[in-house]
Symmetry: C2
Subunit: 119 residues, 2 copies
DNA sequence: CTTCTAATCAACTGATTTGTTTATCAACTA
DNA sequence: TAGTTGATAAACAAATCAGTTGATTAGAAG
């Protein structure tokens, strides 16, 4: 059992906010500063700064230094970790659905639709 | 700009909890009842019931009826929607990294490692 | 030194989340 | 009928989160 993974906790939580997802979307086109990232949103720069801290703690973004600026960079590796977790279960289920399809095709609806667990 | 998507809000939020991720993991091996899902956790069945409601509201799971039981089923389509969102940005960034690699190889480190923010 | 800019810290408020316990509902069973 | 089981609802406390405003650090530029 995984499910005791704080990295997944913080990463999924970080993406559960439209502002933070907007920041991710912006960063996919290149690094940006806090002021640049805050511009499209109707909240204070302090609020955006804390959103970025949330993303940074989740390791979805990293930060560098350029004089008094602190550009934010996307970290695709963490995003990949999330898709890996999801696919781990999504693909299993879909494989089972495909198997079910195969069984139904093989049996060719030979018996009456007896369903205890409906699909 | 998407980022105003409440379905993504609720889905990512739902996965930001180890109990709910454990439920997803269990359901990837087949449907289960609340009591079965609650068994591995050290919290009350009521708490698990509400976790399932969170997953249901996020449309990550569905429920059917079997007498007084209410089996919970995984909904792989929603999981796929999450990977689709993530990949939308992850792949862009990784493509840019590959392009950067190509540029670096072409230039063959001809100039000193000058890293500013290419704005 | 003084001022401006980029960014963060601190304190506070209101809303939301997570868990508990108690009580209730609905369907099966004896 | 009464009793049992599966599941939920309601009310509450503790913790956390998202936003605000105001003050503060650190570096750049005058």
């Amino acid at each position: 059992m995984d499910a005791r993974d704080e990295a997944l906790d913080s990463a999924f939580m970080a993406l559960a906010d439209p502002v933070r997802r907007g920041i991710i979307a912006r960063l996919s086109r290149g690094a940006a500063t806090v002021n640049e990232l805050a511009e499209p949103f109707d909240i204070s720069k302090q609020a955006v700064s804390r959103h970025i801290q949330v993303l940074e703690q989740a390791q979805l973004v990293t930060r560098s230094r350029d004089a008094q600026r602190r550009p934010v960079h996307l970290n695709p590796a963490r995003l990949e970790a999330l898709t890996a977790w999801i696919d781990q279960y999504r693909l299993v289920r879909e494989a089972q659905f495909r198997s079910l399809d195969a069984v139904l095709q093989t049996n060719a609806a030979s018996r009456g639709t007896q369903e205890k667990e409906p699909s």
